[in-house]
Amino acid sequence: MSELTLRGTRAVIMIDRCVRLSRRNLDALLTSVLLPVIIMLLFVYLFGGAIETGSAYVTYVVPGVLVLCTGFGAAGTAVSVTTDMTNGMIERLRTMDVGATSIIGGHVVASVARNMVSTVLVLAVAVGIGFRPAVEPLRWLAAAGVLLLFLLAISWLSAAFGLLARTPEAASGYTFLVMFLPYPSSAFVPVETMPSWLRGFAENQPVTPVIESLRGLLLDTPVGSAPARAAAWYLGLLAIAVVLSAVLFRRRVA
């Protein structure tokens, strides 16, 4: 087998491994599927009545819930990477000449796949409770593209954090950061209702353009520059994450 084929095969094997491990990790799987649904129900039925958004609240909140939950799910990559780095598996893989790209890539791809599945589930429940997206295949495709890029960047950043953390517990702290970021954004309430200093942050933080893009694309309303801003943010973050994780991996194993 040529070196390149071997590398490709190894990457596929590592993805297969991480997908299987995520399927087996029942707690994490339940959290990543049930949590979004519960949060959505919480917002729609508990807070939704009191929040004025100009449309049915479920319609307003679904993009935000998608971002909150898939972001949280993707951040879980940090924990699985740290676990690999601390339990001896990494040393076996290194002595077998399995490279950083395969090891990190396996986790990242499995994370994206896992969260695409929970996205579909959340959307199905959302439709069940009254979410009525526009039927426009091209816009759906674009929305999927934005979400995919967001997931990829967050997963890879999480992997970098997982390389930095010394224990899985520390790594899980990172997931909370990602979990909180959607709150001061347009995810749950229109930014116009926020005090001006918070509004400035909410309008310019990286989660907002994703939510605005998804909202516009799914509901067939104007999106303005949101997709372009989302692409700029997450391509940038992805590039940083890829370089950072390569550096951290090398430092970690030195």
């Binding site: 190894r10 491994r17 990790n25 001896g88 040393e91 002595t95």
Partner: protein, 320 residues
């Protein structure tokens, strides 16, 4: 051209922060057989194995495995070796078979070949019944066996085992010893680290004693006993006072002491004149000495002589 040795270390040095772990270690391990790196905690055993397995870079000196330099020919070294570390490196949530198939495929086998190799290894390591169970359900002994099986998915010519039986019950340890012996029988070179003298004595064709990051001695168990232990004369005293008096007379010639049993040991060649002279010397009044015994040296004696640490602690470690 003669085959290069399995392992060749020249003046290997490694420090972590201010702690010197390897202090100019040089040694050769010939091809084939089981070789033990024996030493107390902190002697540098694990660091040596990690350098050989390309996981840690030495500060200076050279290390070659199967003729390949660990720094300049990392990939070639990795193709020749496998490592089973102190912790079983397996995925808990995969089954035994899934772990082995995955690792065999990573080692470059096709899907069908990997499944065949996994099945054969599971059979050989007596894990066929547990093949479909997740590793998280395995006992400690089963995990070590699977870990050892995992280190054989490729075709390594040198296998490093870092404390392979630490934490196992005696029966599992026995089973693992047999498996390690069989590996060497099949022509693979096994280099294992251990702090169990019994393990080195039972398993290893040759033993390298590491102390303070250097090679303290090297040879077969019999060699080491002959060179460093010889025989010893065990002296049992009537009471604490005579024990203390004898200990004072012998000074640093005492190689072993058990105050609880009022016992002292000194080196001897076992000849009658020497033993008689010794007895006269330590008990001139012919009063305090109850019994004496001449014993063959054990690997403990060698270890104690070479590593020069407080006797009582070493006894505990050695007898675990």
């Amino acid at each position: 051209m003669p085959e290069p040795p399995a392992v060749e270390l020249v003046d290997l040095r490694k420090s972590f922060a201010d702690v010197v772990v390897l202090d100019g270690l040089s040694m050769r391990v010939p091809r084939g057989g089981v070789h033990a790196l024996l030493g107390p905690n902190g002697a540098g055993k694990t660091t040596t194995v990690r350098i050989l397995a390309t996981l840690t870079r030495p500060d200076s000196g050279s290390a070659r495995v199967a003729g390949h330099d660990v720094l300049r020919e990392q990939r070639r070294v990795r193709r020749s070796i496998s490592l089973a570390g102190q912790h079983a490196a397996l995925d808990d949530e995969q089954t035994g078979a899934e772990n082995l198939i995955m690792l065999a495929r990573l080692a470059g086998l096709s899907g069908a070949a990997a499944r065949g190799r996994a099945a054969a290894l599971l059979e050989r390591f007596d894990l066929t019944d547990a093949a479909g169970r997740r590793v998280v359900t395995y006992s400690g002994g089963m995990r070590r066996r699977l870990d050892l099986a995992a280190s054989l998915v490729g075709t390594p010519s040198v296998i490093f085992l870092d404390e392979p039986t630490t934490g196992l019950d005696p029966r599992s340890r026995q089973g693992l010893w047999e498996l390690i012996g069989e590996l060497a029988g099949a022509g693979v070179t096994v280099l294992l680290t251990t702090q169990y003298l019994e393990e080195a004595d039972r398993l290893a064709d040759r033993i390298a004693v590491l102390h303070g990051g250097r090679l303290a001695a090297e040879g077969t168990a019999a060699d080491l006993k002959r060179r460093f232990g010889a025989q010893r004369l065990e002296l049992t005293w009537r009471d604490a006072a005579s024990f203390a008096e004898a200990a004072r007379r012998l000074g640093d010639r005492v190689i072993h002491r058990e105050p609880a049993r009022q016992e002292l040991s000194v080196a001897t060649d076992g000849s009658a004149p020497q033993v008689r002279a010794l007895l006269d010397e330590v008990d001139p009044d012919r009063h305090g000495l109850l019994r004496f015994t001449v014993r063959e040296a054990t690997l403990d004696d060698v270890f104690l002589t070479l590593t020069d640490r407080p006797v009582s602690n070493e006894r505990e470690v050695a007898n675990v």
